[in-house]
């Protein structure tokens, strides 16, 4: 499977990020975020998401690739499956992972987003990297749509609701967000339109006036 690619803003440039299913060894590395970024929600959520992944793995209810996900659904249409997606970038190797998303495929083929965390304090060339959370969310919406999922949903909290309101361009979001395929596609279309315009701007040669 080819990795999902999205672009983020880093040191004034638009750079690619890979978004893939995490293998067992990668989940172990995600777990160590708690030590590397102590006293942050992201560090705690990463460790807890990894814990949950290992628990589901012991129960035979996790997958580590898109092919595994498809095969598991083929074997049992009502399978409840968990997976952890990680974002990484060749140009930001020192971090190994930039973000994670822990998701579940429910028995009725919906996608649930349980954890979404961007590693705190990400910097490149001394400047912050931004756009990772939006890239992860837009990629998940795209993946859910391409898997034929009718619905993607998650619980929202006081701290996450404003982010979901912004990315879904709807308000208010209370303690639950539910998006259907038309919204998944809207998010993806908007996201792609913006990425294309930024990439075109980056690729444009400098003119001497």
């Amino acid at each position: 499977m080819r990795p999902i690619i999205f672009h983020v803003e880093a040191a004034g440039e638009f750079r690619p990020v890979e978004f893939t299913f995490a293998s067992e060894s990668e989940v172990r590395r995600v777990r160590s975020w708690r030590k590397m970024t102590p006293a942050t929600d992201a560090g705690e959520f990463a460790a807890l998401a990894a814990k949950r992944w290992f628990y589901y793995t012991r129960e035979g209810a996790s997958v580590a690739s898109l092919d595994e996900l498809r095969a598991a659904i083929k074997r049992n249409e009502q399978a409840e499956l968990a997976f952890l997606m990680v974002a990484s970038a060749e140009w930001a190797k020192r971090y190994k992972f930039l973000a994670l998303a822990y998701c579940r495929r429910t028995w009725c083929h919906h996608l649930v987003l349980d954890f979404l965390a961007v590693r705190p304090g990400l910097r490149f060339s001394g400047k912050p990297i931004s756009g990772i959370g939006s890239g992860v969310f837009a990629s998940l919406a795209d993946m859910a749509d391409s898997l034929g999922m009718e619905t993607m949903w998650g619980e929202a909290t006081a701290s996450s609701a404003p982010f979901y309101e912004k990315i879904l361009r709807t308000r208010p979001i209370k303690d639950l967000f539910i998006i259907h395929r038309d919204t998944m596609r809207n998010v993806r279309e908007y996201y792609l339109a913006d990425q294309q315009s930024r990439l075109a701007k980056t690729a444009k040669p400098n003119h001497i006036s």
Binding site: E9, R52, F115, P128, G133, E155, R169, D194
Partner: protein
């Protein structure tokens, strides 16, 4: 009527939000379940760290 944001404005708004807020979200139910799994794991883990990996037992030294 509120004007619809262009993709560029929408993303600028999101980028600004990401620059100023930590993106670390968890569903309360998933968080509770994960914490219970963690507590269960801790309770199940054997408490014999000092005796692992061939670490020699400490013995009282006998005074001469």
């Amino acid at each position: 009527m509120k004007r619809k944001l262009t993709p560029r404005e929408w993303m600028d708004d999101l980028l600004e939000y990401e620059r100023t807020h930590e993106i670390a979200f968890a569903s309360p139910r998933a968080l509770l379940e994960a914490r219970m799994i963690e507590a269960m794991d801790k309770a199940r883990r054997p408490h014999r760290r000092a005796h692992r990996n061939g670490v020699a037992h400490r013995r009282k030294t006998v005074g001469r």
